[in-house]
């Protein structure tokens, strides 16, 4: 019996492993900035707004990466622009635009006369069906996102931590905000095939949220999030292979389980330390 190595005989499984590990790494990296900026809702909104792009690309027989990128990046920039007008709160702008875009996707989808199973894959993810050409496109887009973050990590960090101080000392904070939104949109596009529109937000936010529980420096946050982002999809894919479950949902469940475990352990450790400090203080008090 060989639960680990048997699946590796299937090329589709190896492609799925590679795709979901890369997706996990990119999501965790970009997600680290998202959790620090409170952009989790934005991630959910942008993934839904990619849907009309996917359907339109299907109708026009264009590559789905192109349609999804245009729709998601366009919505990201539109949300940024509406928010900057200052008349509406950010979450209001997000709510209006994302629901409208998703409705457009459903509308286009309902116009297609015959059954389209492929498109359902984009809603819930179908990483086991990823082809070689999709994997190549995914790697290129992933490289674009990771290289951009690699070149601008300090500027993005400063603008996230203290936007006023960063802007006053000459960093183009407005442009960096738009850039981060565009990077989030591209990351979502990369992730659509693996986990699907509805669950992408978990890939983005959960590893970074888990890492935030155990990190007191930014480098450590990204490293821990990246490790979780790479390892969880691999475990999730094996589980989905063994028990024949939906791959995207299984990956997300593994990440959620890791988050829950870390949350419980850190809060127990925190309570124990509090109690210990309290006992020490009480002892010191009685000694005096």
């Amino acid at each position: 019996m060989n639960l680990i190595f048997d699946p590796l005989a299937y090329p589709f499984f190896v492609r799925a492993l590679a795709a979901s590990a890369i997706v996990g790494l990119v999501c965790a990296t970009v997600g680290s900035y998202m959790v620090l900026r409170g952009l989790a809702f934005m991630g959910d909104a942008l993934s839904h707004s990619a849907f009309p792009g996917v359907v339109a690309a299907y109708l026009l027989k264009a590559p789905f990466y192109l349609g999804a990128s245009i729709a998601a990046v366009g919505t990201a920039l539109a949300i940024g622009w509406v928010t900057r007008q200052g008349k509406l709160r950010g979450d209001t702008a997000i709510g209006v635009l994302f629901a409208g875009m998703f409705a457009l996707g459903v509308f286009l989808f309902s116009l297609i006369p015959n059954y389209v199973g492929d498109l359902f894959g984009f809603l819930f993810g179908e990483v086991l069906g990823i082809g070689m050409s999709d994997l190549v496109s995914l790697c290129i887009l992933a490289a674009v996102v990771l290289v951009t973050v690699g070149l601008l990590w300090k500027e993005l960090l400063y603008a996230t931590f203290d936007p006023l101080g960063a802007a006053a000392s000459g960093l183009p904070v407005g442009k960096l905000d738009y850039l981060l939104l565009a990077l989030i949109a591209l990351t979502i596009v990369i992730s659509l095939q693996s986990v699907g529109i509805i669950l992408v937000v978990a890939m983005l936010v959960t590893p970074a949220a888990t890492a935030q529980l155990v990190s007191n420096s930014f480098g450590r946050l990204v490293a821990v999030a990246g490790a979780i982002g790479v390892v969880c999809p691999i475990i999730g894919l094996y589980i989905s292979y063994w028990v024949n479950s939906a791959s995207g949902a299984t990956i997300v469940l593994v990440e959620t389980a890791v988050f829950t475990a870390v949350l419980v352990v850190t809060s127990l450790v925190g309570r124990y330390r509090h109690a210990e400090a309290g006992a020490r203080a009480a002892q010191a008090g009685s000694a005096r």
Binding site: L151, E155, D162, L164, A166, A168, S169, G170
Partner: protein
Amino acid sequence: MTATPEMAAGPQTADGPMAVRLVDVDAGYGDRIALEDMDLEIPVGALVAIVGPNGGGKSTLLKLIAGLLRPWSGTVEVLGAPAGRESRRVAYVPQAELVDWSFPVNVWNVAMMGRYPRLGPLHQPGKRDHEAVEAALERVGLSDRAHSPIGALSGGQRRRAFLARALAAEADLYLLDEPVTGVDVPTQEAIMDLLGAEADRGKSVVATTHDLAAAARHFRSIVAVNRCIVASGSADLVTNAEVLARVYGGHLLMLGDRLGVLDDSHHHDDPSGSERHFHEGQRGGRS
């Protein structure tokens, strides 16, 4: 008429080079005006406190100088260029309440951020940057806390960490929003000693404060702002009752020969409440 904080003992006069020059500036947010008819010159080497009631436009003035807010009309010149142009020579320290202290960065990371703008996107911090950060932490007395997360610091240490960031930036103009508000007196003195030393080196320091005692004690000149420039001059200006009355619009409390200003923190959000406070105080004083 241009208001210039006089610097009786300072090395610069009003004829010397100016760090900041505002000419006929109106500014605000949305359609609400915050400052009007502002004319102001701050000479190079000044150590200036911007004082005034909450909502009177102190932070707005600082943001104009920092290039974070564009004036509706008029011109703002900073270090001899339009505001925002020489921003790499400007270090801005925000109000402590605006900082997310749970953010996963340590003291060293914060101080190093001061180097980022001059490094540029493609460069990683090098030896020179590490030295600058080390020197800055040494000067603010946080060398031994370099690897502490900012959330673990005391209030005074947090201010000093941000001051280290400003020092590491090797800026020519320091802009600080409420740097000594809510910190203990030894920390206030440590922070102001450092800023005074920077001013002596020819750097310019502009800070807001609503602590008038701190303004009189630690700064060399004062600009009093309440929607427009109400008064400016040397630091003992704030002990002048007439000037105070103009700045705070009568919200003054006489305590023997000492002057105080009623806590005005709610005075703009809730004028009726602050009014009531004032009259109670007055009645209490008479009885």
